[in-house]
């Protein structure tokens, strides 16, 4: 299966939408000193696909998506994003980061900039967009995440849920081809989780390609095209939400689901 994925990814430009893989990983390993965080990961994300990654903590979920935009450097194997292979070449890395948006658990908004400036920063500085155009784009995105009235505030003046929605808008401003979500609701108070999940769902409905690491199983069932279950740095099982949640084949998956549901 893995070599198939690989070919699909490399002949990007001519291919039909259905067999284009935006992200393809083949035989990826990641080690932190002695510890193997990722072992032989073979994985693909198709265009407009929503993949949800679940698994116990320490299973390598975050490491997996952080490898996709090179926040972590993989030690072995190949990662191809939108037809470009991740190598040590800085230009390649920059290209890939322009096409992948990432939303973090702890928001990581820039505290010294207003909400509007947070969102307009990357389009201006990376894409060279004029200030007025970037700010118009930022306002439009704030409208989309339903907080247009917060544009001139500073991040510290916003609630956690609002901050995370600003972070989503900030990533979208680069018009990425794929969005990576690293536990986007884990740092939120319970009453704010839904407003963020709704924003992500809306994105999924609009056809955004996404990889979401989450502990929100309800969300996974509802939104995912495919669910990936990881444990001990390996992908244990991949399937549709009903396959994974209603009918898990692997013992480790069954155990994990029994614990959390």
């Amino acid at each position: 299966m893995s070599s198939e994925v690989f070919k699909d990814a490399t002949r990007m430009s001519g291919g039909r939408a259905s067999d284009e893989a935006i992200v393809a990983m083949e035989g990826v390993y990641k080690r932190f000193k002695e510890f193997e965080a990722l072992k032989n990961i073979n994985f693909q994300v198709g265009k407009q696909e929503v993949v949800v990654v679940i698994g116990p903590s320490g299973s390598g979920k975050s490491t997996l998506i952080r490898c996709i935009n090179r926040l972590e450097e993989h030690d072995d194997g190949r990662i191809i994003v939108d037809g470009t292979e991740l190598t040590t070449d800085v230009r390649n890395i920059q290209e890939i980061r322009k096409e992948t948006g990432m939303v973090f658990q702890s928001f990581n908004l820039f505290p010294h900039l207003t909400v509007l400036a947070n969102i307009a920063l990357a389009p201006r500085q990376v894409r060279g967009m004029p200030k007025s155009e970037a700010e118009a784009l930022a306002r439009e995105l704030l409208e989309r995440v339903k907080i247009p009235e917060q544009a001139d505030k500073f991040p510290a003046q916003l609630s956690g849920g609002q901050q995370q929605r600003v972070a989503i808008a900030r990533s979208l401003a680069m018009k990425p081809k794929v969005m990576l979500f690293d536990e986007p609701t884990s740092a939120l108070d319970p009453e704010m989780i839904n407003e963020v999940l709704d924003a992500i769902k809306q994105l999924a409905q609009e056809g955004m390609t996404m990889v979401v690491v989450t502990h929100e199983m309800g969300f996974a069932k509802e939104v995912a095209d495919r669910v990936v279950f990881m444990a001990d740095g390996e992908i244990v099982e991949v399937g549709t939400p009903s396959e994974i949640f209603d009918n898990p084949k692997e013992e480790r998956t069954q155990k994990f689901l029994a614990q959390i549901l």
């Binding site: 935009n69 090179r70 926040l71 920059q94 980061r97 322009k98 992948t100 948006g101 990432m102 973090f104 702890s106 990581n108 908004l109 820039f110 505290p111 010294h112 920063l121 990357a122 500085q125 990376v126 500073f154 991040p155 510290a156 972070a167 900030r170 990533s171 680069m174």
Partner: protein, 395 residues
């Protein structure tokens, strides 16, 4: 009133003793100072030598240049401050504003009044009004930039140097028209401090970045530099700059003492500043860099758009502390490099024939200390204001 006294000063017998003892000591100190200032102090030594203390043997016919450059400098500062976009508090009432202005500028105005009184010269009064006018005009220009969109569109990197160019030009003209040996007094301390602060800031930031560089050679060089400079007493470095340069450079083209002083102050303060800035950079969470990377920003842009602005803002108190100490340390240059700075003038005038052997060193030193204290106080106040404006600790 009486209940307040009871509660705060005389609650127990021990409190009462402390209140009486410290109250007595405090009153005694205040009385002694008042007595010195108004009764026993013989201030004619300051009055007679006021010009020497402030500008040394600066030629009279060039004094207008000093006044003009001070005016241009005041205009620049007022324009930059008046044009900053964040207002501390819009709902201030007029009495509150007056109180705020008094706290900020009262001391400077009082010092200016004292100097004009001592000088008893109409030119000094005119200069004061000239500077005041420059501040008002500067503030209006700054405000205009906020209100008029055409001016607001000019990028800061062009706007600020443009406003500052008259000041810089006038200082340069003053330097060219006079010889450095003619400079003296507080003027020297003031300009040495300002020039060193302006020069050491970028150098300190670069050193801080160098020490965090991923290139081992750059790290080694900057770390060695910082540790060597920080390991030596400032006074020793100043003395070295005075004598050791002759080993390398023939005396005929050896730089002037003031130039050496500025060089040492710049290099010395930059090393300390580098460590302050590095501390600031370390306080920025890793997530900030990661967010910048994830958006596709280059490492350089992440540094100057994201981490460095936050780091510099976090270390404002330490930076200003370093600048204040640099300002006061300029008196060391007087001693080490034989520059006729305000302290040297202050001790020299007590040896004039009219004042010799009369124990007037107290008056001279008190006046020198007053000049530095007012300068340091203003720097410290304005830095607190800057912190509030930038919202340190609020985010």
């Amino acid at each position: 009133m009486i209940t307040w006294l009871r509660r705060n000063l005389f609650r127990t017998w021990w409190d009462s003793i402390m209140t009486v003892v410290f109250g007595y000591v405090g009153l005694w100190v205040i009385w002694t100072v008042i007595e010195f200032v108004f009764v026993t102090g013989r201030w004619e030594i300051i009055q007679v030598n006021l010009k020497l203390l402030l500008v040394g043997r600066f030629p009279d016919e060039l004094m207008w240049l000093v006044g003009a450059s001070l005016t241009a400098l005041a205009f620049w500062v007022a324009a930059v401050a008046g044009g900053s976009k964040i207002d501390l508090n819009n709902v201030q009432t007029i009495p509150q504003r007056l109180f705020d202005y008094t706290r900020r500028f009262g001391l400077i105005v009082a010092l200016a009044a004292l100097l004009i009184f001592l000088a008893a010269d109409i030119a000094a009064l005119l200069l004061a009004f000239q500077v005041l006018g420059a501040v008002v005009v500067g503030r209006l220009v700054g405000l205009a930039r906020r209100k008029v969109s055409v001016l607001g569109a000019i990028p800061s990197i062009i706007w600020h140097p443009m406003l500052g160019s008259p000041a810089i030009a006038l200082v340069l003209v003053t330097l060219m028209e006079s010889t450095l040996e003619e400079w003296g007094g507080f003027l020297i301390n003031f300009y040495m401090a300002i020039i060193s602060i302006v020069l050491c800031f970028p150098l300190g930031v670069l050193l801080a970045l160098g020490r965090r560089s991923s290139f081992p050679i750059i790290r080694l060089v900057t770390t060695t530099y910082i540790e060597l400079i920080r390991g030596a007493p400032l006074f020793v470095l100043l003395l070295l700059a005075g004598v050791a340069l002759e080993f390398f450079i023939p005396p005929s083209i050896a730089p002037d003492a003031i130039f050496r002083g500025v060089t040492v102050f710049t290099l010395f303060t930059a090393a300390y500043l580098a460590e302050i800035v590095r501390g600031g950079l370390q306080s920025i969470p890793k997530g900030q860099t990661e967010a910048g990377k994830a958006l596709g920003l280059s490492t350089t842009k992440i540094t100057y758009l994201i981490t460095m602005p936050q780091a510099l803002r976090n270390v404002i108190p330490a930076q200003i502390g370093q600048f204040i100490s640099l300002f006061k340390d300029t008196t060391l240059a007087g001693a080490a490099l034989n520059i006729l700075d305000v302290l040297n003038v202050g001790t020299a005038i007590t040896k004039q024939q009219d004042f010799l052997g009369q124990g007037l060193i107290y008056e001279a030193l008190a006046f020198v200390a007053l000049l530095f204290w007012v300068g340091s106080y203003v720097m410290s106040r304005e830095s607190q204001r800057l912190e509030k404006r930038l919202g340190v600790g609020v985010r």
